[in-house]
Amino acid sequence: MSGLSVGMLLFLVSVGMSLIFGVTRIVNLAHGSFYMVGAYLMVTLVEVLPDRPWAFWLALLLAPLGVAALGGVIEIGLLRLIYRRDPLMQLILTFGLILVIGTLVLLAWGPDNKSVSRPEALAGSVRVFGQPFPSYYLLVLGLAPLVAVALWLVFYRTRFGMLIRAATVDREMLGALGVNVSALYTQVFMFGSWLAGFGGALAAPTVAVALGMDSDVLTTAFVVVVIGGLGSFAGSFISALLVGLLQSFGILIFPAISIVLLFAIMAVVLIVRPWGLLGRPEE
């Protein structure tokens, strides 16, 4: 069960990463940093807002928006300058962002671990199949699929979603048809950042909010995205659940090699199907 909720959180982060790659062709290594900023913003907002039952929910709404704003600034200020460059240069630039954001978070929030208390209504635990299970995880289990459904609706039932899908297939043609591709990139990047921030904010009460969480989540989300297929929405969902479960069970059954197993699976997928389980081969 907790494996499922870990998988759900992973899904939020990796689908954002996958979405950004699908449209802008940038593998955003700073995506884990966005997740971390989301969690830290949650810490601050919960502290700052008045101690009322609704404060937690307001913070959960505001923190991801803050991350989306950060994403927007980065996209307009930096990424826009290098879309035409070598993809590897873009990769290195986002790596530079990891370092910068990591240090800024350290300076803003200090080196100590933080924690966010769960909202009162969800502080206890419930019994599922006779096992005690923290009720907050139920929220995660409930919210993430809701987001998945909402994403599906956005992708397949709105104009924005149609443009995103069109952009993943042929960006130049989309631009030639009169769509403002540059604005679309910004929106998609902000949307992807929002998803990472939402994942971080939602995860904050379940983990110690600490400085290393950016690289931890990055490596796992990276594996998820690669296994599922870069740019594939359904692929991210399936492989996030798979990886979440594998991590939870792997630690129980063979703790020493669970991470090796994860990367070994990723390596096998890359060798056999470099474009991932549900992705498309590069043109």
């Binding site: 240069m89 290195i92 090796v260 390596a267």
Partner: protein
Amino acid sequence: MRPAGWLGLVVLALAVAPLALPPFFLQLLTEIAIVGLFATAFNLLMGFGGMVSFGHAAYFALGAYAPALLVKRAGVPLLLALPAAPVVAGAGALLFGFFIVRLSHTYFAMLSLAFAQIVFTVIFKWKALTGGDDGLLDVWPPPLLKSPAAYYYFTLAVVGVSVLALRAIVDSPFGYALRSVRENPRRARFIGIDVRRHQLVAFVISGAFSGLAGGLFAFYNGSVFPDFAYFTKSFEPLVVALLGGVQSFFGPLAGAFGFKILEWLVSRQWPVYWPLFLGTIVIVVIVLLPYGFVGLVGGRPWRTRPTTRG
């Protein structure tokens, strides 16, 4: 002055450095030489082969752990243990590279990163052999090489010979074939070059010399840690080569010099700010100076990516 003249001047300056500099700076220079070798080996792939590895820390770490384990667990003396560094790292590069060179561009980078994470995890978890998180301590060179000046000369000699060897490889027919693979793999294949084999050989050579740098660093540092294989370490040669300029053979060496001096200056004053500083430099270099700092002085523009896929 001709390039050869400059080179002679640099070698002379490095040779007399121990007479003029206090031990601290000799250690800094030793570190620069090691990072320079690491970045030069890395750049054989990036600059001349057009392959960007995101997992070179794996070979650095294999090269650091192999001789450290021999010294620590089997009592082998340094001079006999050090050759294990390039051998083991080269073997690792052969094993992983066999799969990695089958992919291209972004996927190449990602698979190399995945293998490096596997190496990191194995080192981290295999406590009985590697000491896990605690690393291996007290891996010092023999008394003869223990003083900063002695180890400095030793490192300089090993790095010097290695760089000359790499230079010879770059200038050999193999080196030119490798460039043609970088520029246009399909045309290279048409004229009879076995593209994958050339890429794999370059990968193994690069891995082996990265391992040698790792081995030198192990004895310089006196200890080895799993961090050597962590993905942030993989970015070190990349950043160094990028700073120096990937299109020139000596760019990475110059980059190592600038990088280490800068790191020392910044971390001495504000250790916390160093990653911020480094990240900012990386971003600025990518956005404003696509050919690195050496490119400012004048280097030929060089396409980082073949424009034709076919």
